[in-house]
Symmetry: C2
Subunit: 106 residues, 2 copies
């Protein structure tokens, strides 16, 4: 169920792409509507959506001439799980450092 073309982290790295994603988080959007208000052209938005789709963060649906994009909860949940793992391990490392301060480093 995994094996995405690119990582979610890499997909959300670009500021423009993050701005697009933050919009899609609110509600579904068509490509042209997304381009309005963004400092880039519509083709650029289309390319960014392709990356987000490749990372499993968004899905698209045809609606007549237009193409509606929305956030894919599954991809977002996977990122959340990965980050939660970082958080848990960080806290565990802190606890271990408190118990054995002299062995905190190496």
């Amino acid at each position: 169920m995994d094996a995405y073309a690119t990582s979610g982290w890499t997909a959300l790295a670009d500021p423009t792409r993050r701005a697009i994603f933050e919009r899609l988080v609110e509600r579904p959007y068509a490509v042209g509507d997304l381009a309005v208000g963004l400092p880039v052209t519509r083709p650029a938005v289309s390319q960014h959506l392709k990356v987000l789709k490749g990372a499993g963060l968004v899905v698209d649906r045809k609606a007549g001439k237009r193409r509606i994009y929305r956030v894919d909860p599954a991809g977002l949940a996977q990122l959340r799980a990965e980050l939660d793992g970082f958080w848990t391990k960080t806290l565990a490392a802190y606890k271990a450092a408190v118990e054995q301060p002299e062995k905190g480093d190496q």
Copy 2:
């Protein structure tokens, strides 16, 4: 308390930098120890740590000749909060779409 040089998303975008961070999540490391096992040289690791530090994800501490890096829980928590916001809004958008399917798009 914010105003980092670069975003946490951008900092964790690079695979090498993510590998470094995943190591630091386990326990604190010195720069040279991090470089061991990574396919890059020590200066490269040092530059990556600079970026991670600029994003508020890690902090450093001098220990004799060596410099110990560890994860900064505050920066990680901020990323987590941002992602949780995405998640909450996504679920809200889904709920709204179910209640008014015909107005899901625009």
